[in-house]
Point group: C2
Chain length 124, copies 2
């Protein structure tokens, strides 16, 4: 077998940089495809394809208005991603604490002169 299809979940859909751009662009307001094309500077078929992927996984919503289709980011679908990443928050905080401790220990070990010099550096 090959890789999981891109249409399977939000994680895969969001792995593509252009699609992230589209999501950001469509976050605040709905827009017709043409505007997205103009804004991102990609060929129209390419945008349509990305929109299809995003729509399939529920990351965007679509509404027809005359001959144009208005797309808009469905932010709620990004939430699971945010929550998954948030799972690691406590760990990266631990890491930061350790880095901090290490830095402080290093400072304590160095000479007072060098020490105050470093402090000055940090202040600016």
């Amino acid at each position: 077998m090959a890789r999981a299809s891109t249409t399977s979940d939000a994680f895969n859909a969001v792995a593509e940089p252009r699609r992230r751009e589209i999501l950001s662009y469509l976050a605040g307001a709905e827009r017709p495809v043409g505007e997205i094309v103009a804004a991102l500077g990609l060929p129209q078929p390419s945008i349509s394809k990305h929109l299809r992927v995003l729509h399939d996984v529920g990351l965007v919503r679509m509404r027809c208005q005359g001959r144009q289709k208005l797309y808009r980011t469905n932010a709620a679908a990004i939430r699971p991603l945010h929550e998954w990443a948030g799972t690691f928050e406590r760990y990266w905080q631990h890491q930061l604490d350790r880095v901090k401790e290490l830095a402080e220990a290093t400072v304590r070990r160095s000479s007072p002169d060098l020490n105050s010099a470093q402090m000055k550096d940090k202040e600016k």
Copy 2:
């Protein structure tokens, strides 16, 4: 051209479900490859390949200990992902507000009897 390579950034690396599992498994403590293999029930070469991808993008750290290599999740590398997703937080909150308003409006429009019946439903 084809898709962006998986080793390019954290977003791509994390798109693979198995790799997410590995990251979760290695979040709390460092483990030798063998344990990961046992824990996830995947063939060893497969695990090694995923670890390589994760290591290339900085999502895991590695340390040699005798003949085994200890891997551990580098949570800090997941942070950008969390922050990107967090960018949309205010939008999904708006959405929730709108859903809430809509629901309340609907309830106001329905009969008091039906209304209390629905409340009971929600309570169980």
